[in-house]
């Protein structure tokens, strides 16, 4: 059986929401981008960032498929997976 790449099934984007210990928002943003890069994502953005004492609450987004792209999940094999009936 071929191994499925889960990212091929992601409709549009993947968000990572976390808290990063840092000195300020700027540093938090840098660390956030670094984190996404280290995870292997190329097209990333900070959707939301908020600094509190000692760190940032941050939501990072990796775009997997943008509108107008060729979506791998649309491929008929991947498009809809019927719910498993127990």
């Amino acid at each position: 059986m071929n191994k499925i790449d889960p990212l091929d099934r992601v409709v549009d984007s993947l968000d990572v929401e976390t808290f990063i210990i840092c000195q300020n928002e700027e540093e938090g943003k840098k660390l956030g981008f670094q984190l996404m890069k280290d995870l292997g994502f190329k097209d990333v953005d900070v959707v939301f960032i908020e600094y509190g004492n000692g760190g940032v609450r941050i939501r990072l987004r990796a775009n997997i498929f943008k509108p107008g792209d060729y979506y791998k999940w649309l491929n008929s094999k991947n498009s809809i997976v019927k719910r498993e009936v127990i």
Binding site: D12, F48, R61, K66, Y71, L74, I80, K82, I86
Partner: protein, 614 residues
């Protein structure tokens, strides 16, 4: 089906968690079953003793799975077997992490976990086949205008609107535009394609002739597309493989489609969201996911350049930026994907293609469209004369295709006070009624620049929004659908805050008894990228939870809401008096009576000097 009463022994084997069994106990009693609920945390010997005395048909045991529990349960089954209960009673176990396989392994007849509904448990006791709630629920398409008389409660305003609209219709009667020409050419082309009795050659010849006439009424961008196959920037045609895969996606998604009701104990407001990702495939994904999470309707948003361009493109087209291109094919595919209960709006209101959009919407099977001459003229860049002529024709077409139309008052976001936007909306509504259409009033639930300047929302977001609804009720008996989206300008990039503000505005909407609302996604304030499908689910879930919380209870506005609603009615009256004094609706638009430069409204220039005599 007649219920055969059963004798049920309910055993909370868990030391503390017996709530579920208490609920089941109540429900079983209500349905005429004889039950005995034992106290929690008793020994298995006592349970067996009670079971021997009661001789139940069913024993229901609740127990959260944990260390050593399986042994206790096995022992219980063994003891029940010894005293002869096992053979005559069904024994079931319910609790967290209890799976049917595990229950069977331990010797039980069934196992229920925390996801099992009470209905399923009751069905088991009664020996009925359980129908999953969502499968039982059949959503039906609703008519938002049903039950409204459109009778004006405010006689003076009614009379003024009558005079203004008579003048407007009279002004329009000998005027036309290339937009109107295209609408009727488009109608002819579609109808020709629908006629199968004409020989293909003749049909193609007539289509070519109609298309050539159509292109005489188009901008260069459109002409180049048809004549030289040049697509606008950032637009591409879907490939054959994409189209085939999309067919498959639609087919499969319809096969497994389930509907859900977001409203709890009320029937309204219906929940709409706007799509317009740029790509019809992604739009369809958003629609199908939105439907799965309970959306009642969707609105098609086209790119802003579509409103500034004379004519429409053709084919299955994808666009890299916001707004999905209106073509007969794109709309057709989107319609094909919709659940039968989903209401579908194609917005037409603001640009040079307004009447033609209504034709395409009508021919594609849309339920609703969107027309507001005033907003389109003052905040969407279209010349007031052109949009009045086109808008009136678009309303006639909406009546012809039985498309109710909503009237967004988004000029309020530019800074125009609500009372001016309402005066404009009421004029267009009256035009609609005179032309046989069904208008839907669309006040904004928003933190508008005017509300900020006047401080009306310094304390809360409730009173002024409520005042808007009260004022419209005082004027006319018509459907009201706040938008667009509710809570405009209160959203931030914080997903929780964004979902929360949408949900709270939805709570206000249900409290005020409005017919529908348009909700944003939790990505509403995120402007650097496209809206994600999960952000749609965020707000649909948040609204559902709010409706569950509120039920038939209501948010109570303060006395200010009534005060401000009276003020709004007087202000609307005054604006309409000014329009009448001006003697012309179109002149009133140019002169800022319905929204001035000081307010933040600018009469549009697109399509200026393009109105001509019939």
């Amino acid at each position: 089906m007649q219920i055969v009463p059963k004798k049920v022994l309910l055993v909370p084997l868990d030391p503390v968690h017996d709530v579920a069994l208490k609920i089941i106990n109540r429900r079983l009693k209500e349905r005429g079953h004889k039950t005995l609920l034992l106290p929690p945390d008793i020994s298995i010997e006592e349970i067996v003793d009670q079971a021997s005395k009661v001789k139940p048909d069913i024993i229901m045991i609740s127990r959260t799975l944990g260390y050593g529990v399986a042994e206790v349960l096995s022992k219980l089954i063994d003891l029940l077997e010894v005293v002869g209960i096992r053979d005559r009673a069904k024994i079931v176990i319910g609790g967290k992490a209890i799976k049917p396989e595990l229950a069977a392994e331990l010797g039980f007849d069934a196992g229920f976990d925390e996801k099992t509904s009470y209905e399923e448990t009751i069905a088991f006791v009664e020996g009925r086949k359980y129908e999953v709630e969502e499968e039982k629920f059949i959503k039906k398409k609703k008519d938002l205008t049903s039950g409204y008389s459109y009778k004006f409660n405010h006689q003076k305003i009614d009379k003024m609107l009558d005079e203004i609209t008579e003048e407007t219709l009279d002004w329009c009667k000998d005027k036309t535009s290339s937009g109107i020409n295209r609408a009727y050419l488009r109608e002819k082309m579609i109808e020709l394609k629908e006629q199968n009795n004409i020989p293909l050659q003749n049909r193609n010849k007539r289509l070519t002739s109609l298309q050539s006439e159509y292109l005489k009424n188009c901008d260069d961008l459109i002409i180049r597309f048809y004549q030289e196959e040049v697509l606008p920037k950032k637009v591409r045609e879907l490939t054959t493989e994409e189209k085939e895969s999309l067919e498959d996606y639609i087919k499969k998604s319809k096969e497994i489609a389930r509907t859900k009701k977001i409203q709890h104990t009320t029937d309204k407001p219906l929940i709409f969201f706007q799509y317009g990702t740029g790509c019809p495939i992604m739009d369809i994904a958003h629609i199908k996911i939105g439907e799965a999470w309970g959306a009642d309707g969707v609105l098609h948003f086209d790119p802003s350049w579509g409103a500034r361009t004379e004519g429409f493109l053709e084919g299955y087209l994808s666009h890299e930026e916001d707004g999905s291109i209106i073509t007969e094919q794109n709309l057709g595919k989107i319609k094909e994907s919709l659940n039968s209960s989903t209401l579908w709006t194609v917005r037409a209101h603001r640009g040079l293609n307004t009447p033609e959009t209504v034709v395409l919407a009508g021919k594609s099977g849309a339920d609703l469209t969107k027309i507001n001459i005033v907003y389109g003229s003052l905040n969407a860049g279209t010349d007031p004369s052109r949009l009045t002529v086109d808008g009136v024709e678009a309303i006639k077409l909406a009546a012809k295709y039985n498309l109710a139309f909503d009237e967004p008052t988004n000029e309020e976001l530019g800074g125009v006070p609500a009372y001016k936007t309402f005066a404009g909306m009421l004029i267009v509504a009256k035009l609609g009624l005179k032309l046989g259409a069904k208008p839907i009033l669309k006040p904004l639930f928003c933190y508008s620049p005017d509300a900020m300047i006047t401080g009306r929302m310094d304390d809360n977001y409730i009173d002024y929004n409520a005042a808007k609804i009260y004022s419209l009720h005082k004027i006319v008996d018509a459907p009201i659908w706040p938008g667009e989206p509710i809570g405009f300008m209160t959203h931030t990039e914080d997903r929780i805050q964004s979902s929360m503000t949408t949900a709270l505005h939805a709570a206000l909407a249900t409290s005020l008894g409005v017919d529908a609302i348009t909700i944003a996604s939790s990505d509403e304030a995120y402007s650097r990228g496209s809206i994600s499908v999960t952000s749609r689910i965020d707000t649909l879930r948040a609204v559902q939870e709010t409706f569950r919380f509120l039920g038939k209870a209501k948010i109570k506005p303060t006395y200010k809401a009534k005060e401000w609603s009276n003020e709004l009615v007087s202000q609307i009256e005054k604006v309409l008096e000014d329009v009448l004094r001006k003697g012309s609706f179109v002149a009133a638009l140019y002169d800022g009576i319905l929204g001035s430069r000081e307010d933040g409204a600018y009469s549009g220039r697109v399509g200026r000097n393009t109105v001509f005599s019939k």
